[in-house]
């Protein structure tokens, strides 16, 4: 009780100028500056996660690149020259920024798909390929096939679905299909030629954003190639590369000057990372300016408050209050205001991230729902630095 009453008196003497109009602009600028810094970290972090496909296993910027050879006119009839030799595959394995290499195993046998019900049936030829499971952006548990299995699981490219819905279906007057419809369809795959044809039940189990193909398990393609395959050498026509940094110059050089091709769209998306990095840097710069302004006004405010309370401070020291006690007293009060401001910035960041995560999930982009440890580390560091600065200002002023 006694200390509380004493503190009320000290507040009257030392903080009586604390309720003026200078404090709020300082705190708002500080809060905004720190929020912008945290937002920069959030954007940088989220972009990194999105590009790496951390939460949905789908990289848009792509740490995965599908590669094929450029087909010059003279090679049109020489299909073997468009395939990757073992030496070429091995060369990719040691290429800078390449983490893993997967080969597309093509079906060397004819494939037909047959949809049928009691009234109608529809069949068409298609192609299937297989890639190692680790390269597929769809974690399907039952992604394997051995002879004797009832159903062949299939993954189709989302691009194909879009092509069908927005190209083929309107043109042919057939109904458009949703992902749900396709997942519910049962159909048959017919492989082989003539009397050796075999029928297998099949089902689409998922869709891929990463790989533009119709994928079946490697076991199915291997079986088909062994039993129904032709005499071609079993060399891959496409590779899938997992790269550590798709924006790296060496990766670009591979496609700009070499004999290989990848989706230009993917490479363009890679530029998103660079662009985002610049945008984040710009935002961080702006944030630093805001913080500098906020810190300047805040320190000016404290400076002015202490100067205005200078006579009171001197008289209190004459009564026996120690400068250390008065510094601590002022630091505690302004420190609390500072920490509350920092917490407000943190709270704004949480709200921003939660809302952004909710908003962009509609666009099939998934980021963490709450700020990462990097954001809290940034907030902690800024708070600590500002508290140290505050302490220094107060101690200097009170002991002057």
């Amino acid at each position: 009780m006694s200390i509380r009453k004493r503190n009320i008196l000290l507040n009257k003497l030392l903080l009586r100028y604390g309720h003026n109009k200078r404090l709020w602009p300082a705190l708002i600028a500080l809060c905004l500056g720190v929020f912008l810094i945290l937002s920069s970290v959030i954007i940088w972090d989220s972009t990194r996660d999105i590009l790496a496909g951390k939460f949905d296993g789908d990289s848009i910027g792509s740490t995965y690149l599908t590669v094929n050879k450029k087909i010059p006119d003279e090679n049109l009839t020489k299909q073997q020259q468009n395939l990757f030799s073992a030496a070429e595959v091995n060369a990719f394995r040691v290429y800078p920024h390449v983490k893993d290499v997967g080969v597309f195993v093509s079906a060397q046998f004819p494939v037909e798909v047959l949809f049928s019900n009691e009234e109608n049936s529809f069949s068409t030829s298609l192609f299937v390929e297989a890639v190692p499971k680790r390269f597929i952006d769809n974690d399907i548990k039952s992604w394997r096939w051995e002879y004797g299995h009832d159903v062949v699981p299939v993954i189709i490219s989302k691009e194909f679905l879009n092509l069908y819905n927005f190209g083929y279906a309107p043109n042919q007057g057939v109904p458009q299909l949703t992902e749900g419809t396709i997942l519910s369809l049962d159909f048959e795959l017919i492989i082989g030629r003539g009397a050796l044809k075999e029928k297998f039940k099949a089902k689409v189990l998922g869709f891929s954003n990463r790989i533009s193909s119709i994928l079946v398990p490697e076991g199915f393609v291997d079986y088909g190639n062994q039993v129904h395959g032709g005499e071609y050498e079993d060399l891959p026509s496409r590779l899938i590369l997992e790269v550590t940094d798709p924006t790296a110059e060496e990766i670009h050089a591979l496609f700009d000057h070499g004999e290989y091709e990848t989706s230009k769209e993917l490479l363009r998306l890679n530029k998103l990372r660079t662009t985002t990095n610049y945008a984040v840097a710009g935002m961080a710069l702006l944030a630093i300016l805001f913080i500098a302004f906020g810190v300047y006004v805040f320190t000016m405010f404290i400076d002015l408050t202490i100067v205005q309370a200078e006579t009171s401070i001197k008289n209190l020291i004459l009564l026996g209050y120690s400068p250390f006690f008065l510094s601590k007293y002022l630091f505690f009060r302004y420190g609390l205001i500072l920490i509350a401001t920092m917490l407000s910035s943190g709270l704004l960041s949480i709200i921003a991230q939660v809302r952004i995560a909710k908003y962009i999930v509609v666009e099939s982009l998934i980021i963490a729902k709450f700020p990462s440890w990097e954001v809290w580390a940034a907030l902690g560091t800024i708070t600590l630095l500002l508290l140290l600065l505050l302490n220094r200002i107060i101690v200097n002023k009170v002991n002057r």
């Binding site: 003497l13 020291i317 004459l318 026996g320």
Partner: protein
Amino acid sequence: MRLSLDSIVPSALKDRPDVSNSYLWQRDLVFNQGEVILVQGPSGTGKSVFLRMLFGIDKEYEGDIHWSAFKMRDVSSSQLSLLRASSLSAVFQDLKLFSELTVWENIEVNRRMTNTVSEYDAEKWLDRVGLKKAQDVVVNNLSLGEQQRVAIVRALVQPFEWLLLDEPFCYLDEFNRSKAVALIKEVVQLTRAGIIVTSNTDNDEFVYDKKILL
């Protein structure tokens, strides 16, 4: 607590010819706790400066001042605060009150620092100097005489071994002066503290053990 003065003289006064006539400057003196000392001299002879030196405010002087083991020139700010909070109390000529606080708040700022004097005693002393009814009045609205009485009571509501009074009754009339003197004598008698009073003139307000002419 013993006060020892070793040939002290303020830097501003050391070249004045009349310094050698002083019974204070450049002399070795010792005052023991409980003594009542009058430092008397006309304006400009350094009475206030002397109290400011004793209180650790002025450090521009030659010689040394010792409050027992504390050498004033070398004390740290925390030691000085401790000394002021526990052993030295003062009434300054310019009073050094908190003008924006009320009479009672001025008393409380000092009393609550150590809580060695009860709220009851503080109120009673305020009543003794005729300020009970004015205790909620902001100090700025008081006359100088009233402010001086507030400063006196404020100096008494903390523990002290020495009370330094710089012309403490200069704004008081005879009636209020006698009330203030009586209160100081009573409190000092209880605490067995010493008093150093500065004044322009000789007086018999206290029973002085020593009178020092500047």
